[in-house]
Structures are given as C-alpha cells and as structure tokens.
Symmetry: C2
Subunit: 121 residues, 2 copies
C-alpha cells in the first residue's frame, strides 16, 4: 500500500492538537533533548518548533513537553509522561487506520490508478 497516504489530525477547538508534524516533533524532542535541536533536525526554525510545542501544551489537559530554557546544566526539553503516552497513542492509531484501509474500495482505486501519471498532451 505504498501509494496510500493518510493524514490523521486531532483538533482542539480550531487548533490541531496533534498531527503528523507535531508527532514528528515530539519524537525529535525525545531523541534530541531540546526544542531547538529537535527543530534543527526537522529543518524548522526554533520559533516554529516552539509554537508547535506551545499549541500542543495548550491543547492537552497536561503539557506534553517540559522545557527548561537557558544554556546551563539541566537546560533542554523532554516529553512528560503524558507526552510519551500521546505520541504512542497517535502512532498506534495511525498504524491501525492505515491497516484498516485494506479492502475492496482500496483495491478498486489502486487498480484504476496508473503507476505514473500520463504526460500532458
């Protein structure tokens, strides 16, 4: 099912609490240990990474990311227990949904779609 792309977003009011980009950012923060390093790893500015974290923290009942700004010892950011749980649930839900796509309708579409687009006349 290489040609299927599913984007799963969970809304909080008008804001996206979590979607593919925010899940990637959570993963990068867990790995890199800071918001700025996570942003760099994903090719986004510190400001953008910070805003995404701020949105997530405001959309969930408890913050997903705990940040200790500054350059000294103990500075950096990490996922809270709630952050780890949200990331795990999001990834599991995405996988579950992807698997559920199998079936007659997907097969019909896959069969009708070319492997490459025809060229413009």
């Amino acid at each position: 099912m290489a040609r299927l792309k599913l984007k799963l977003q969970l809304y909080c009011g008008d804001e996206i609490a979590v979607g593919p980009g925010k899940a990637d950012l959570l993963e990068a923060i867990a790995r890199e240990g800071s918001i700025s390093a996570a942003g760099r790893a994903l090719g986004m500015s510190y400001r953008r990474a910070w805003l995404l974290v701020d949105t997530m923290n405001r959309c969930f009942a408890k913050p997903l990311v705990e940040a200790h700004p500054g350059g000294g010892k103990g500075a950096g950011a990490k996922l809270t227990t709630e952050g780890e749980a949200a990331l795990t649930a999001y990834r599991a839900l995405s996988a579950q949904i992807e698997q559920s796509a199998a079936g007659a309708d997907f097969a019909a579409l896959e069969m009708a779609i070319r492997s490459e687009p025809a060229r413009r006349d």
Copy 2:
C-alpha cells in the same frame, strides 16, 4: 468523533491522483455539469479546477471527467463511468477508515485533549 480529521490521499508517482479536494471537485462536476461551474461552487478559479481535473485524468487509467468545451449546446463536463466509480470508492474508503479509528488509542487521545485550547500565559 467530531474532533478527528482524516485526510486520505492516493498517489500516482509524485502526484495526488485523488484526495479530499479532488473528490469534492468530482462531486461538484457531477452536480453542476461543467468544470467552471464546479470550480465556482467550490470557490476555486477555472484554471485551478481545470488543472485538478487534468491531474486526475492523467493519474487514472481512464479519464474520470469528460469535458466538452465551448459555449454551445452539449458543452460542459460530466463524470465518466470510471469517474463515478472512483468517487464512490473514495467516499466509501474514507468512511471505512473514519470508522476504524474507534478504539483504545483514539479514546486515550480524545480524553487527553481539551475541548478548547488553554490561553497563552
């Protein structure tokens, strides 16, 4: 599940053969009987609507939309049999996927997300 948003896209090479916007356009063409009227109904330019139709027609083995340009009698556009089948399969697959989201992971996320974002400090 009002707070879940799923975007289903099917790729043909690097192009999107069908996704939410193209499915809406197919629906509007079937209803309005022309690409320009369908574009207007969706608030998109004729050029954009035409390009989306062109991409769909090049991505599927057989064209989804049959257009008869010009202003005279018989002018307009309609879905081919393949276009109707693709639209039906896309809508059915989207519904199937949406229903499949139910379960423990979705419940965990839904419970952890506020109904409205907290205000910035």
